[in-house]
Symmetry: none
Subunit: 216 residues, 4 copies
DNA sequence: AATGAATGAGAGTTCATTCAT
DNA sequence: TATGAATGAACTCTCATTCAT
């Protein structure tokens, strides 16, 4: 076999592996979303993914790795999309709003996976837990940065950037965690975002900034 | 046997039942806090409570009822202590702060049980879930009331009381949910409360109220 | 409940436990004898013992404990019966022969369990292995003692007691390990014992002893 | 393609096949020695041999054939080396000693494979078992022959050649089977051989032979 | 009222074997 | 000739639940 064919094989293998992993994590996420991570067996994941149990273990060393991969997929989306949304806005205050808005949208798209993140914490190994915690910190950072930036510009009342940033993340997560409540009270995503912006962002703007953005 | 003795027996029985239930739920809570609800077996609860497995089923129809009882115990504490804390303050703004502060303190005392609440949602039966959701709404109500009250007095900027109340609950819960983060950043409970008050309460006060409480 | 009933309960429990353990080990031994230890599943042991899989784990913490118990049962028989057989003989040479003969008889009765002992060595945990090794040393000791005794009386040519004792044990074990060979060559237990006595015992007697026992 | 090239191809194929089989059995033996035959998977053998799982099945019809090949390799060594060692000695008694000594040396070199032989017996198919049993008989024969020869020369006390020959094999095997014991008692291979010679060979020499070899 | 022995379905995981490439 | 992805039955072990005492 020539090394050219070797290369091709390697590429095919890589592509297949990627495809399989996606296939498995997709199945896992969709099952876990409806029943909770603990209620989903490897047998069920295999069946839902249309592969054998054995194959699951070819791609993931154990059950935890699948859960971890499911969580990581969501967190990756945050890391990609929130900074992109920030770049599309110029005004410091608009950048905060854009960041929070996009954060909420990602949460909404992965609503049940976000819930999964909070549910799984207790059943993960120490190293698995640390891994997702550090990834989560990475999703938080852009929010803090954008708040810091606005503060430096004098657009915010005296406020702790870490706290405000973390609150924004928290409230975005809450859209998933307490979705039953918002559904019950008839609050849609856009209204939720609007109300949170008015409650935690506008309230913390300096008088000048508040007049400028005109949301009051 | 006289009916008097009957009555006495009934009382004794009732007292014993109450004692047993407490004994069992205590054991369950303490085990679940360290290992997560799913990792705790009925056998382990029985052993830790110093009773037999069989007895567990005399007092609780199945495993879920024990989990539910554990969660209910925490929620009861909220319903009892937050209104009490509110009554101890007179000024509408102080009442908001007192409510939030006490809410945070209860969360802190039952930190792992609060986490349990979020974790269990997916594995509970529909009726069990509804039960704790309605109890949770009951813990939320005092926060909304106290915000409404302040708004009626003109102490708040134009703000949605439901949103602000829910945010306060959310941020109190977050003290438990993200405890690893605050520990890592060296933030203690008192500082956490102070920062949240400055970020989400003070920011939403009307100019008059802000001047009055002098937290600015 | 009185402490008398408690005592009775404890006795009943103990008796039942003993009965169950015997029941399980019996089933395990008989299955392992025909198929080899590795080929016997916990399901099969449970079924053969007429109990549930779960109960197996009530009495034995894991699979290895059952294997260990099966082996220990045979080794206990050696420790009990070989010394008894020795006591029934007076002449030092007769005592060696009696010891070896009884050793062979025990092997014959537990033939397949002896094979099990040799087979299992590799799959046992370190501590399990050490446990059966030390038990085996205990079965060896009477053979060495009896040889030493005869040597002290001047009944043996100059010979290493440890070596001769260990050889006797080895050759007794071999009756089980190579049973297919003796069956093929038409050698029964009694003839096997007789030939080994002539080959390894008589050959090592001093002239005086040889004349005395008259086996030559 | 000429038939000459065909021949050449056939030779190359044969050589490759032989190489592959050796490669696979080598890997299998070395893995089984450390972990026991049952603990070694086909995947592990393939990996250790540096080939694919599929290829294993091109050269061996199933797992048992690999185990069988591993055992056969050791037994082949006995068949080759023991007769060679015998030829190097002239005196009938020396020939017995030489045969036993070499037998022990081969055992020592393949210690764990010998253990494997005893362990595998129960898990082999009937035909596989018979195959190794007949090979084992072939390793035993030279020992019996050499004893017979000495007996015919009048160098042995009246003794059963089959029994003595089999005992010699047994005691050689035991060097592997009870290696933990000899290690514990600080007995090395040479001392083990020496002691066994004194115990089972010298004891069975006729007075004349004993005087001649002067080992007494 | 209380026990705990007993159950058995179902969990995660492994591995001999096959087969399309 | 050689690969290794894929299979799925079988493994050990757990645990919610029952029931005779």
């Amino acid at each position: 076999m020539t090394s050219e064919t070797d290369d091709l094989n390697a590429i095919v293998r890589g592509a297949r592996a990627e495809f399989r992993e996606k296939q498995i994590v997709d199945a896992a996420v969709s099952l876990m979303q409806t029943k909770g991570s603990h209620a989903v067996s490897m047998q069920a994941i295999a069946k839902s993914a249309g592969v054998s149990v054995g194959l699951l273990y070819k791609y993931f060393s154990d059950r935890e790795q699948i859960v971890l991969a499911a969580i990581t997929r969501v967190l990756d989306d945050f890391r990609l999309r929130v900074p992109a949304a920030i770049q599309n806005a110029d005004d410091p205050v608009d950048r905060i709003i854009a960041a929070f808005t996009e954060f909420c949208r990602v949460v909404d798209e992965h609503r049940l996976a976000v819930v999964l993140t909070y549910q799984s914490s207790r059943s993960l190994s120490r190293s698995g837990l640390q891994s997702i915690q550090s990834q989560e910190l990475a999703t938080l950072q852009p929010l803090i940065d954008v708040v810091d930036e606005a503060a430096a510009r004098g657009d915010l009342r005296e406020v702790d950037a870490g706290t405000l940033g973390h609150d924004l993340m928290t409230l975005a997560h809450m859209w998933a965690l307490k979705h039953w409540y918002f559904q019950q009270t008839g609050v849609g995503l856009d209204r939720y975002i609007d109300r949170q912006v008015r409650t935690v962002i506008v309230g913390n703007l300096s008088d000048g900034a508040r007049r400028r953005v005109g949301l009051d």
